[in-house]
């Protein structure tokens, strides 16, 4: 009899500790959808790149002395990336808010605020750093840079949400670093990370926490 009460006490302590310091309503399914958006974006980027390299071969001579044609391409890729990010953030926010409402967790509390701040710091630094790379025409390192900084953002944020996010972050950092050694295959690594990894980890978290 007594030991039942102690067991309740322990589980109450654990519950309070995690609920007060972590935002646990993060939706796993939104991770899966973010991965799908990233793959769609990668396909568009791939088509656009193909188009570029075709005309590139034909018109190389004509272009070589003209203004850098790459600006149009970089801008298009940037627009695709921004659309993917916006779609992923909106989906993540909507699904997490719905999950929080269901479980009775406050959406805007200390834990979710800390989660957001700690996720955004490395993310914005990485974003600005990527723009600087584009500014200096080092655009072949942009894919690696976004992967590494996104991974760091996940590792940093994992203290304030489901612990699994940490392992996804580590995976992103690793393939980001590996991709630096395969210049020219940035888009494939990008699709592997933002597409495939999101889908894998998202569905793992979905089956672990979302379903019931």
């Amino acid at each position: 009899m007594e030991s039942n009460k102690y067991l309740d006490d322990i589980s109450e302590i654990k519950n309070m500790m995690s609920r007060s310091s972590r935002f646990i309503s993060l939706s796993g399914f939104s991770g899966v959808l973010a991965g799908v958006y990233a793959l769609i974006g990668a396909v568009f980027a791939y088509l656009r790149l193909q188009e570029f390299s075709l005309t590139d071969k034909v018109e190389y001579e004509r272009r070589i002395n003209s203004a850098p044609m790459e600006t149009g391409l970089v801008l298009d890729l940037l627009i695709i990336a921004i659309l993917v990010i916006i779609a992923a953030i909106v989906t993540g926010a909507i699904l997490s808010i719905r999950k929080a409402k269901k479980s009775g967790e406050k959406i805007w509390n200390q834990a979710s605020r800390r989660l957001l701040v700690n996720f955004c710091i490395p993310l914005f630094v990485g974003g600005i750093f990527s723009l600087v790379l584009i500014q200096y025409n080092i655009s072949w390192l942009v894919a690696s840079t976004t992967l590494v900084f996104y991974g760091l953002a996940c590792i940093n944020a994992s203290k304030y949400t489901l612990g699994d996010v940490r392992y996804m972050g580590i995976a992103f950092v690793l393939i980001g670093l590996i991709s630096t050694q395969f210049i020219g295959y940035g888009l494939y690594f990008w699709a592997l990370g933002f597409g495939v990894f999101h889908i894998i980890y998202g569905s793992m978290m979905y089956f672990k926490y979302d379903r019931d």
Partner: protein
């Protein structure tokens, strides 16, 4: 014998257990946050924080944010140590 001694009567209530748990993992918590977390009424929460303050397990700071009074709580060194002992005792009791 000694395990039973480590069960601290001061923590032997759901609300007090909750207050200490929140303060173990957060540097600070204000009254509103504790209220939301624990689902307690103002009076209920106030009496339990007062009891924990009296045993010097938590520290209370009153301040103003703009014009609004704000009370924030933090666990003292003593409180953290005692609560850890309490958790260890609970875990040992379950293990038996």
């Amino acid at each position: 014998m000694s395990i039973i001694n480590n069960i601290n009567k001061a923590f032997d209530h759901r609300i007090r257990l909750g207050i200490m748990s929140v303060l173990m993992v957060n540097d600070y918590a204000d009254f509103k946050m504790l209220k939301e977390m624990l689902g307690a009424t103002d009076g209920n929460l106030a009496s339990h924080t007062k009891a924990l303050e009296k045993s010097e397990y938590i520290k209370v700071e009153k301040q103003f944010i703009g014009r609004k009074p704000n009370t924030r709580y933090s666990a003292t060194k003593l409180g953290k140590a005692e609560f850890k002992k309490h958790i260890n005792a609970l875990e040992k009791l379950i293990g038996k």
